[in-house]
Amino acid sequence: MEWETVIGLEIHAQMATKSKIFSAASTAYGAEPNTQACAVDLGFPGVLPVLNQEAVRMAVKFGMAIGAEIAPYSVFARKNYFYPDLPKGYQISQMELPIVGIGYLDIEVDGKTKRIGVTRAHLEEDAGKSLHEDFHGLTGIDLNRAGTPLLEIVSEPDMRSAKEAVAYMRKIHELVRYLDICDGNMQEGSFRCDANVSIRPKGQKKFGTRAELKNINSFKFVEKAINIEVERQMDLIESGGTVIQETRLYDADKNETRSMRSKEEANDYRYFPDPDLLPVEITDELRKQVKADLPELPTAKKLRFIEQYGQDGESATILTSSRQLADFYEAVIKESGCEAKLCTNWVTGNFLGAINKAGLDINDTPISHQRLAGLLKRIADNTISGKIAKQVFDVLWESDATADEIIEQQGLKQITDSGAIEAIIDKIIADNPKQVEQYLSGKDKVFGFFVGQAMKATQGKANPGEVNKMLKDKLK
């Protein structure tokens, strides 16, 4: 039978606020255990939550970026469950009236654009961390993370393959970083994903029973976890079994999903409005402010890059993949005053190549946009050739010198004195009569030999265009 996969994602993005969503404790990552867990986070009797305005603003910002309806009136609810990672006995979340309503995002897979619906996005508090090892049969609890603001972004079941799911997740990841509302660090758990996966016979309208996959903390694992789960469901159904609705954990080491269902009773979260929090009003004024602060979004930027700088789709996709990179690129153009094409080639080519090779983030680039622009200026004004420029680039990467200093110190200036080049070419022609003969008898390939010799004799400092022209003239 032919099966169709149906996927919906729930993405949890930690909002990049300084303090927690309901308390004034720090959200900084990596502190000593429990040093950032205050009385509110610990659920002490008598404490009251006070909502962080920045968390609300960030949620609104996200909503606007996906074209969603922003609720004018939003309510927080208690989701009751007993687990020591939230000492209150409930998580403050939203059930009815979430801040962000229905929106959408366009993804691109295999050159085709597809619209993925976002059902809703709501604010809630993150839980603490449980450590199960090395405590003599007990569990260690670190509540530093408890109370960190989370935006839970729920998609419609619109994705039909693991590839689409990854594309959607990447798009959300790109967007939250563009908006500066989440650092997107998946290793530190700032950006996490659960996937609802089901299959149905192709052509059937009704959805199959879904399994919820937890604990997927990288783009690679999302794809693998979904694919392995789809395989499991197909095998199960084709051998006469049925899929049951349950939560499954993805184990990356074994590349399998396994049931998290315990013998205990199913959870009943008994949601109800949190009496400690009043309804939140999203005023027109806040909306206006956020709208005014909204940066140019990835899709709009990409289209602008194509139009304004004459880029192909691929370059534009690369250059707009992060706001920092796009800003860097535009700063290079502005600083150098060079043609966009030259800047595009260098930023996507040598520059990003070196960044990726060194495993660096664009923010940690050893070459500032000013120094890269300095190099491009010298290519544009023919002081150095493209080949020499690569040499200079390597030195830029390793040192703090400017391109001009490097060119000067190493004597890399292009030879513009055509008399000097002519003398060298004459000598090469005189020294290689055999090759001259071959060329004149029609072996065009030998021409490259002469160019190579000329570049070698000038240590690459001759202008290749001029060398070509001169050789052509002399070898007629």
Binding site: K18, S26, N34, E54, L131, L143, P279
Partner: protein, 95 residues
Amino acid sequence: MSLSADEVKKIAYLARLGIDEQDTDAYAKDLSNMLDLMTQMGDTFTDTVQPMAHPMDQMQRLRPDTVSEHNQRENFQSIAPQIEAGLYLVPKVID
């Protein structure tokens, strides 16, 4: 609506409340009475009324995003039954 003794036990379990076996029937009766009252209230026509999220007719005041709580771990942990390496220790929660 009438709750059975088993349903009362289940509700107590979900709320992690320990109740005495002998009190079960009394709880069942009390809770059933409350549910009856709710059923009665459910008959009221409320389609045109916006659900109330809070009895106070006010909106939430928001807090500026600043860190003003500082580390008081020692204080908090002085009353914790068991701690180690800065962590609170609790009975193992998963197998």
